[in-house]
Symmetry: C2
């Protein structure tokens, strides 16, 4: 590394700080950047800084937004009585991509994990409960991930919701579409069997 000019060494160091990017990849990307047209590099550099500065939390759902209220929360055509709870903004985007949900979202920004000292007060749960209380929410779809933490969080929220006039549902777990049964883990098969339904 010390055989490159200083500015290259710095750039390699900065790029290799990104997750999943090792020194070799950082070196390759740096070489590409040096050879790219200045305009393209300016665009990349500006885009990184601008996005970081511009993006904030939607003040209603805590999703990513470049304004105070995100596109989904400000969309009056969406069904605001149906609220889907997810852990991270990327989970919301995954559901949006499926096109299967036309309600609104609430992003917890994490899941409860007593092992890591993350309790109900460390995720956006209080805000969820006050949203449910103040608005006309009829159903809360718990779409936290199917990890131990996600399952525990869904269970905890569903218990907290018992005192509210809403129906709590959980997104289904089971065999992925196109999944081959012999490659699916036993826990998933067990769950899929337990939650089987009439055709």
């Amino acid at each position: 590394m010390s055989h490159y000019p200083l500015s290259i060494m710095n750039l390699v160091k900065n790029i290799s700080r990104l997750p999943g990017i090792g020194e070799k990849t950082a070196e390759r990307l740096t070489m590409h950047i040096i050879r790219s047209p200045l305009k393209e590099v300016e665009q990349l550099s500006l885009s990184i800084l601008e996005t970081r500065k511009k993006i904030r939390s939607c003040s209603i759902c805590f999703g990513l937004s470049d304004s105070d209220i995100c596109n989904i929360c400000s969309d009056r055509t969406r069904n605001s009585s149906l609220l889907c709870v997810v852990e991270q903004p990327a989970d919301m985007v995954a559901i949006e991509k499926s096109g299967a949900f036309k309600g609104i979202y609430h992003i917890l920004h994490g899941a409860m994990s007593p092992m890591d000292g993350i309790g109900p007060d460390d995720i956006r749960l209080k805000e969820l409960l006050s949203r449910i209380k103040d608005n006309n929410v009829k159903e809360v779809v718990l779409a936290t991930s199917t990890t131990v933490e996600g399952e525990a969080t869904a269970l905890y929220i569903s218990q907290r919701l018992e005192n509210y006039p809403v129906k709590a549902t959980r997104i289904a777990s089971g065999i992925p579409i196109g999944g081959d049964l012999k490659y699916i883990d036993q826990v998933t098969i067990k769950r899929a069997m337990e939650t089987r339904h009439a055709i």
Copy 2:
């Protein structure tokens, strides 16, 4: 993708233009950038633009440099009678890392490839010959890569050097150290056998 705010979509697009980075990785990196401390992001953004603007070709060896003449060319302790010819700046860095060479370099910025219309005038060959003529170079080590193009370029340069009072040598090809013979390709083994030497 259209489910993210506009600035995020732009950043994902800009990052996924980098070589070897697909949309999924770009999305992951974007999410990381959004969550990173502003200072770190500023550093990355600035470093990208500055490096691109600062780095130029060394006017002697055509290697990467942040000044007119690179560190190696301006280093008086190096043996300037020994000149190593490589295709790309990264090749030079690889040789430097080995610590096995204390001479100077010349970067061709490519290899001759008639199929792609790259002839002797499209690489820094004229500059190499004038460097050899003007300076007191005694040996030229041809360290172009061992591809068809690199081999052809080395052969061509060695023929051109016949009229100059220099010795042309070629970096050795053969079994990599730690390489298992049964996994080495036949062309490499053939070459290693042909260029065997007394112990």
